[in-house]
Symmetry: C2
Subunit: 200 residues, 2 copies
């Protein structure tokens, strides 16, 4: 004897989510029994909607339910500044910050030779054509500080050299609120190298 | 700007699951985009099924899609032994073990005066009527060793005294594989008190 079929099915589905194992899936599935009916309807339909309605913006590759995303359609955004991010999630983080008024270019991941992901696989050709056609003056690289991130940043900056566009990279250093004794050596090295004069 | 509507809805639904916060809900919702279509269909339908098809067994209160659960319908199970558990999940754990051949009685939680849960709220009256009508010879209490669990065990044993039924409680002591230095004092005290003679 085991759980009834519908619960077993739901447990299997929850197990397909990242970081969810057998025990957690069981707990999650059992909790669904007590959900309100309106939550059940929304949960059930939005799972399908996310799969069937979500597309990639034809301009910047961001997630959208239309042909182009809200930001690409927003005339008030500054089209002379492009922020390059690894995935759609990162552009949302920038938007939560609220102070960036330019546009985005969302890659399909980072260059990673070990995983067989080369420059042709991550939506870089469209970046070049946008820089050439949209009057872009600055490309800000906001990729994570890993080997793949650095490789991709370097590749993009070389790819765009000679095209009359400024390429910058967001600052790397000690994060706010960090305890100095837990900062790793590499971060400290970068923070020291990129030190900023505050008085003279 | 934020995520498209369908993703925002799904994030809100995931956030209603126990132990899932904003960041996790976001990660889970985005992962759904990459699910296969058959998983999407099963996920979407089993959420509804779990809500609308799952009922409580009219005999033992276990989860079932029928009027009575698989175990109560199974004639080969020993109806003279009833194992009392706090919730349906616990009976599944017993079934995974495989060696228990009796039947279950699933409570609706434990007696907890602080939370306003009294003996009348946890399906105890049906336990008494089952003991009186089903030829039960032994009631095994398998409730967790907390104040609520102990209170409930005590209440049940008093409630059944004089009804000609043996009431037992699963053993408390040191769990398998535990490191002695991490055993708490209360557990050690119980384990010492309930020590078992192995040779004489």
């Amino acid at each position: 004897m085991n759980y009834p079929k519908s619960i077993r099915n739901l447990i299997e589905c929850f197990k397909k989510l990242p970081g969810v194992g057998e025990k957690t899936a069981e707990r999650l599935a059992l909790s669904v029994i007590n959900f309100d009916e309106n939550v059940i309807e929304l949960f059930s339909s939005s799972i399908k909607d996310v799969k069937y309605k979500i597309k990639k913006c034809s301009i910047c590759n961001n997630l959208t339910e239309e042909d182009t995303c809200d930001i690409c359609r927003d005339e008030s955004r500054d089209s002379s500044v492009l922020c390059v991010v690894e995935e759609a999630k990162n552009s949302i983080l920038f938007e939560k910050m609220g102070s960036f008024k330019g546009r985005y270019h969302v890659l399909n991941g980072l260059i990673s030779p070990l995983d067989g992901i080369g420059p042709d696989d991550i939506n870089l050709d469209k970046l070049v054509s946008r820089v050439e056609s949209e009057g872009v003056k600055e490309v800000i690289l906001a990729l994570k500080p890993s080997i793949e991130g650095e490789t991709t940043s370097l590749y993009i900056s070389k790819m765009l050299s000679g095209k009359g566009v400024k390429v910058s990279k967001i600052a790397q250093g000690i994060p706010m609120g960090a305890d100095m004794e837990y900062i790793d050596i590499l971060t400290l090295e970068m923070a020291l190298e990129d030190r900023k004069e505050i008085s003279n």
